[in-house]
C-alpha cells in the first residue's frame, strides 16, 4: 500500500536535510510502528506523507497504491485516503467542530465522485462514532479543538479518523500526553479500524502504546533513515536496552 523509496527531504525554508535515503514498505492490513529517538525525523516523515508544504522532497519517491503522490497536495492525499492524526492537534477558533467534520467528509466524497451525506445521515454517523470514543456532545459544540484537554484532542483526532474512513492512517505520537485510560480508549478506536484493506503507521517514542496497538512490523528511524526493521520483539528490545546498541550496530 505504501512504498517509500530512497526518500530525501529537507525543510523548505532553510534547506536542512531531515530525511536521508529512507526506505519503507507497509502492506495493506499491516500495522507498522516507527520508533526512534528525538530528532530522528519521525514527525517530519508524517508531515511529508500527508503533504505539508514546509518540506521539499529532493530525491526518491513515495508510492501509495502504486502511484506517486509527490505531486498531490495535502487535501488530495486526504481524499485518496491518507490520514494523519496530529501529535499536536490544531485549535481553530471560529470554526465549529460539526461544520468542520461535515465539510471534510463531504469534500472527500465529492473528490471521489460520491454523493454528499445528508444531514441526518451525517448526524447519525457522528453520534455513533463519538459514543464509541466517549466524546461528550458538548465537546462537538465547541470550535475545532478549542478548550479541549490533551486527551480530548487525541480522541477528537481518532473520531475524525473513524468518520473519514481512511486507507492509510498515520498516528504521530498519539500516546503523548495521555493517561492510561485515555490511551486505552484511543487504542480501542484504532484497533476498531484495523482491517485487511487498511494500513496503520504508528509513530511513537515509547513502547507503551504498542502494548495496546500490537504492531506487525517495527522500524527504527535514526538520522532520517530506517536503520533496523523487525517484528514486535524489536520494540521490547528497544524498551529494555534503549537505542544506543542499534545505532552503534548500524554505524
Amino acid at each position: 500500500m505504501l512504498e517509500i523509496k530512497n526518500l530525501h527531504a529537507r525543510i523548505a525554508e532553510d534547506g536542512t536535510e531531515i530525511i536521508r535515503g529512507l526506505d519503507l514498505t507497509v502492506k495493506a492490513g499491516e500495522v507498522a510502528a516507527i520508533m526512534g529517538p528525538n530528532g530522528s525525523g519521525k514527525s517530519t516523515l508524517s508531515y511529508i506523507l500527508s503533504g505539508r508544504e514546509d518540506y521539499e522532497v529532493t530525491e526518491g519517491d513515495i508510492l501509495y497504491n502504486g502511484e506517486s503522490i509527490l505531486e498531490l497536495d495535502a487535501s488530495e492525499r486526504a481524499a485518496k485516503g491518507i490520514f494523519l492524526a496530529f501529535q499536536y492537534p490544531v485549535e481553530i477558533p471560529g470554526v465549529a467542530t460539526m461544520q468542520f467534520l461535515k465539510v471534510a467528509m463531504n469534500e472527500q466524497r465529492k473528490y471521489r465522485g460520491e454523493d454528499e451525506l445528508t444531514t441526518p445521515e451525517f448526524m447519525r454517523r457522528v453520534k455513533e462514532a463519538a459514543a464509541e470514543l466517549k466524546i461528550a456532545p458538548e465537546m462537538l459544540r465547541r470550535p475545532v479543538n478549542v478548550g479541549f484537554s490533551g486527551g480530548e484532542k487525541k480522541r477528537a483526532e481518532i473520531l475524525q479518523m473513524a468518520l473519514l474512513e481512511p486507507k492509510l492512517c498515520i498516528l504521530d505520537e498519539t500516546d503523548s500526553g495521555l493517561d492510561i485510560d485515555a490511551l486505552k480508549v484511543v487504542a480501542d478506536g484504532v484497533n476498531a479500524l484495523r482491517s485487511p484493506d487498511r494500513a496503520v503507521v504508528v509513530i511513537t517514542h515509547y513502547q507503551r502504546l504498542l502494548d495496546y496497538i500490537i504492531p506487525d512490523t517495527v522500524h527504527v528511524l535514526y538520522k532520517g533513515q530506517v536503520i533496523k526493521s523487525g517484528d514486535k520483539a524489536l520494540a521490547h528490545e528497544l524498551e529494555a536496552n534503549g537505542y544506543a546498541d542499534i545505532i552503534e550496530a548500524a554505524a
Partner: protein, 425 residues
C-alpha cells in the same frame, strides 16, 4: 481676496453643487432649513471636498478619490427586498422616500421630510466641525429619511430593519432615533444597492439613548461595486445606557463610515464591533471618535478587516477621556487579515486622556492566514480555496457570534459574510 474662492472645483464638487441647484424648489425645508442648506452648499463650494491635508481625512483624500457623482434622479425607485432577518419589521426609504406601513407597537415614526418642512430638523442639521464633509453634503442635499422614537420601556422580540435601497443616482437620508428610558431593541440599518449602476449615498443617523436603554444597532452596508457611501452615526449614551454598535462593510467602491459618540451618563457602555470585507479596487474608511465625558463609563472596540485584491482600508479610532471622567475603562483593537500583496490597511488608534485614574489601551495587528491551521484543514481533505475561506470566515465570525442571544440575527449576518467571501476568496 479670499483664497478659498480660487479653488478650481473638481467634477465631483461641481456635480454636488449642480445637484443642489437643480433641486432648489424641490428640496424640502422651512426658511431656516433652506438658508442653512444654502450655507452648507456654499461652504462646500468654497472649501471643496476634504483632502489629505485635513487631518481627519488624511488616509481618505475625498477630493482625489471621488472622481464622479451621478446626477440625482427622483424617478428612480428601488424595489423593497426581504428583511435580512426573517420576521423583522421593515421601515424603508427608497430613493430617499419613506415608507412607514409596517410600524410595530411602541414605535412612532414620521417622514423626516416633515421635520425639514416644519423646521424642527434645523438644529440637527448643523455640522460637527469644519472637517465634517459628510454632515455638510448631507445637510445640503438631504431629501428624506425617518424620525423614529421608541417609547419608554418598549421591548421588541424581532429586529426592526430600516432599509435604504438605492438603484442609481443619489440619495441623502437622515435618521434621528430616540430610545426611551429602559427600552430594548435591535435595529438593522441596511444600505443596499439593487443593481450595479453607480449611486452616491450619504446618510446621517443620530441616536439618543435615554437612561437604561439597551440597544443593538447594526449598520449593514451592502452597496454595489460602483457606489459611493458616506455614512455617519452620531450617538449619545445616557445614564446606564448600553449600545452594541456593529458596522459591517460588505460593498461599495468608496466608503466612509463615521461614528461619533459621547458617553454622557454614568454607567454608559459602548461595544463597537466592525467588520470590513474589502475587495476589488475599493477604498473603505471607518473613523470613530468617542468621548467619555463623565466618570464610570466603559467601552470596547474591536475592528476586524479582511483585505483582498487591491482594496484599501482605513480605521481611525480616537477615544477622549475628559478630565472628570475618572474610572473610565476603554479598550480598542484593530486586527487585519491581509490576503493580498497589493491590498493595504492603515490603522490609527489614538487616546487622549485628561483624567488620571482610568484604564485605556489600544492595539493593532496585521496577520496572514495561519499556515498550521490551513494545513490541518487540508489534511482532512478540504481543498485549499475552501479551507482559506473557512479561516477567513472564522476570523470575522467571532465578532458576529457575540450576538448569540439572537440566533436568527447571527445566522443572517454569517450568511452575509460567507456570501461575500464566496464571491471574493
Amino acid at each position: 481676496m479670499n483664497m478659498q474662492q480660487a479653488i478650481k472645483m473638481t467634477a465631483a464638487e461641481t456635480a454636488l453643487v449642480d445637484a443642489y441647484t437643480a433641486q432648489i424648489g424641490d428640496l424640502p425645508g422651512d426658511g431656516a432649513v433652506l438658508s442653512l442648506r444654502d450655507t452648507l452648499v456654499h461652504e462646500l463650494k468654497t472649501a471643496g471636498l476634504p483632502t489629505r491635508r485635513v487631518e481627519s481625512w488624511h488616509y481618505t483624500d475625498l477630493r482625489t478619490l471621488l472622481r464622479a457623482v451621478p446626477s440625482a434622479d427622483p424617478s428612480a425607485f428601488a424595489d423593497r427586498v426581504d428583511p435580512i432577518v426573517p420576521g423583522s419589521s421593515v421601515l424603508s426609504v427608497r430613493n430617499g422616500q419613506a415608507d412607514l406601513k409596517s410600524l410595530p407597537e411602541g414605535v412612532t415614526a414620521r417622514s423626516y421630510t416633515e421635520s425639514l418642512l416644519d423646521g424642527s430638523a434645523v438644529a440637527g442639521l448643523a455640522v460637527l466641525g469644519s472637517d465634517d464633509a459628510i454632515g455638510r453634503i448631507n445637510g445640503g442635499l438631504v431629501g428624506g429619511g425617518l424620525e423614529i422614537a421608541l417609547a419608554e420601556g418598549a421591548e421588541f422580540e424581532a429586529p426592526l430593519e430600516i432599509q435604504i435601497a438605492q438603484s442609481h443616482g443619489q440619495a441623502h437620508t437622515r435618521f434621528p432615533v430616540s430610545f426611551g428610558a429602559g427600552s430594548k431593541a435591535t435595529v438593522i440599518e441596511r444600505h443596499l444597492s439593487t443593481n450595479g449602476d453607480a449611486s452616491f449615498v450619504s446618510s446621517v443617523t443620530d441616536l439618543t439613548l435615554a437612561e437604561g436603554a439597551d440597544v443593538i444597532w447594526i449598520i449593514l452596508q451592502q452597496q454595489g461595486p460602483a457606489d459611493t457611501h458616506l455614512g455617519q452615526i452620531r450617538f449619545d449614551l445616557g445614564k446606564d445606557a448600553k449600545l452594541h454598535l456593529v458596522v459591517i462593510n460588505a460593498g461599495g467602491k468608496l466608503v466612509r463610515q463615521e461614528l461619533h459618540g459621547k458617553a454622557s451618563g454614568e454607567g454608559a457602555d459602548l461595544t463597537l464591533r466592525g467588520i470590513n470585507l474589502l475587495g476589488g479596487d475599493s477604498h473603505t474608511d471607518v473613523t470613530f471618535t468617542l468621548s467619555h465625558d463623565v466618570p464610570h463609563t466603559t467601552s470596547t472596540e474591536i475592528i476586524r478587516n479582511v483585505v483582498f485584491d487591491r482594496a484599501k482600508g482605513v480605521f481611525q479610532g480616537k477615544i477622549l477621556v475628559a478630565k472628570d471622567a475618572q474610572k473610565t475603562d476603554a479598550k480598542m483593537s484593530c486586527n487585519t487579515l491581509l490576503l493580498s500583496d497589493e491590498g493595504d490597511f492603515s490603522a490609527k488608534p489614538e487616546l487622549e486622556i485628561f483624567a488620571d485614574d482610568v484604564q485605556c489601551g489600544h492595539g493593532a495587528t496585521v496577520i496572514d492566514i495561519d499556515h498550521t491551521q490551513l494545513f490541518y484543514l487540508l489534511s482532512r481533505g478540504i481543498p485549499e480555496n475552501k479551507a482559506r475561506a473557512m479561516l477567513v470566515n472564522a476570523f470575522v465570525a467571532e465578532i458576529v457570534e457575540e450576538l448569540e442571544a439572537d440566533e436568527a440575527l447571527v445566522e443572517a449576518l454569517e450568511g452575509v459574510i460567507s456570501a461575500w467571501l464566496a464571491k471574493h476568496a
